[in-house]
Symmetry: C2
Subunit: 411 residues, 2 copies
Amino acid sequence: MFDHLHLPRGFSFAGISCGIKAQGRPDLALIFSETPTTVGAVFTKNRYAAAPVQYDRALLAAKPDGVHAVIINSGNANAVTGSVGLTNARLMAEAVERMLGLTPQSTLVMSTGVIGVQLPIARIQEAMPTLVQALRADKDGFFAAAQAMMTTDTHPKWATEQIRLQDATIHIAGMSKGAGMIHPNMATMLSVIVTDAQLTPEAAQLAMQRAADASFNRISVDGDTSTNDTAALLANGLAGGPLITSHTPEFGAFLAALTQLSTKLAQAIVRDGEGATKFVTVQISGLADDQAAHQVANAIATSPLVKTAIYGGDANWGRILAAAGYSGAPFEPESAELWITGGPNSTSFLPRLHLVSQGMPLEYDEDQAAHRFAQPELLIELQLGAGPGRATMWTCDLSHEYVTINGEYRT
Amino acid sequence: MFDHLHLPRGFSFAGISCGIKAQGRPDLALIFSETPTTVGAVFTKNRYAAAPVQYDRALLAAKPDGVHAVIINSGNANAVTGSVGLTNARLMAEAVERMLGLTPQSTLVMSTGVIGVQLPIARIQEAMPTLVQALRADKDGFFAAAQAMMTTDTHPKWATEQIRLQDATIHIAGMSKGAGMIHPNMATMLSVIVTDAQLTPEAAQLAMQRAADASFNRISVDGDTSTNDTAALLANGLAGGPLITSHTPEFGAFLAALTQLSTKLAQAIVRDGEGATKFVTVQISGLADDQAAHQVANAIATSPLVKTAIYGGDANWGRILAAAGYSGAPFEPESAELWITGGPNSTSFLPRLHLVSQGMPLEYDEDQAAHRFAQPELLIELQLGAGPGRATMWTCDLSHEYVTINGEYRT
């Protein structure tokens, strides 16, 4: 499948080991564009925003002339590290800028790993020649970078999209590491998405925000939000084609592709959730507005009772309704229609099973319900009225393995 | 310890088996006062309020002359049961009223158990003579009732208080069954508290609301809120003494005792949480107001990452700060001071350990921290600024056993 990987023009990638993690595992990644890029980025809303998040926010707020690089380390989150941590984030960026001869303020920084421990910054600085030498514009470089940003992820996560805009072929490629699934202090969802489309800074920011809202903000593994969550889009314009500005048809086409790619990355994160054995899609409709629908979807997707029932393969629809009931969203309990079936990617086609109608349980075959709840992919559809509000969320089950992974000691 | 049980005058209690649960386990309880009582009650905010909750709300809204009885069944929640369920709740109350010769609208109803299955109402009606005959005004009756309201509880939960008001000795006695710990569809926190104090209806309602806010609303096992949660206070006035009206010194004294009793019941529920191996007190201070402090306490007390770390005995303070950070409450991250130690009831006295100061980790002995996190009772104190806002919550850890219990099939 890697043969189909069409990377955007002008980007190169590297991933190496610099000694932050034990046993020489890859822990340092670099993504580089020779030509300056416009950037759209979204960050964690956690008040304990890590040093690299603070650094990137300040850099982007100063409206840089152009961003050329992203440096990422795993094994250490550089979070709750005070002014020393902020200095270290800046030193990481400056090391890249010096080595590549870039203008100041042209490198973003991301970190993921243990909280509250200072970065071994000297190791990162010393590894800079090796890191830059490893830069490659091909799939080997791309996967090396994706690998070096992993923590408890069991495999690298990536996706690509390609669209035609007027006479230009636009490429988008993204890599992510796991979210929510916070190994003892190994936090964070990180995503870097690169494209050779030509976007204004406003369009890049709006596109990343909208795409993240429809993808990374629709997943839940355990409901916890990390100190380091970041998704950044870098656009270098080398594909030619139209300059994409906000609210134009080209923007719509680009956003659709970016959203599709972000959704693939987000779903890959859930599928690789700590201890996850099942992938669950929660589709809510019928509420007064999308926000109310999202409230319901979120309550169901984060309920430990719903998630353990799914782990156990139990068609426990009462817990789904109960979670909707305490979500705080306004709806008439008597309006509930609930269906379940295997998820969209299930191997076997199973017609959907109607469990609840007009807020009351229907007579259904318990074996058929259990058969659907036992699928590796599950689709839960809950309609609560006739309003236009809709929301989809993706989540996983809550397993013994999750408790084991997260109950283990940090060291 | 049962010798110290001083029950309020004029109440009698019964608990029997009527065949809702399998194997003849107790499933029907009655609490009765010959003289009419004033009632204060709080109910679930879940939109799927069960039939008995709807019935009680309507009954109390009609300002009854006096309530004489509470009938409680376990094994069936009578929730998501539509108009048939509402009729069955009314039939339960009417069976009691007919058998005891009471005026209509003088009996409250509570149910707990499986959702979405109609009550076997005939069994309850047929058991009425046996139930009424079993009424006793002593501790045997009291514990039989407490036992008959259990579902996945491993033991009955009860507490008593006694206070002097002018020349009268006031008794308060309460019984509860488990909350949050929702066995496959076995939902609900139920509490019945009886007293021989003399309260106006307004004072009874205000006292129950305030006491519940400081106790039952401060606990979390898994963050899920059931369809049936109910806490009711019945006051028959047989102790004599002053008529307690709102906002008087007597009200303050009664409220203090009721809050203390409710807190004991709430803590007993957490200690008996499904799969719980540790009891955790989360104390937050320094925020702008109590509501913000409660937001922080709630985020920490319901975080699966915090709860699995505590299960694993891991001094993972990063997760505690991260949960505070995403709680949505406003505070300066740099203001954080974090201490941990064994809980107030720990067997061994451990001085509290300062883990974080001014938002930064302190140098501390990892073994000493792990030793505290390994205690069966844990106290987490987090100060976030110099404001007056404070909140305390009680929670338990998230264990393998929780996943096992809640992943099991319902039948």
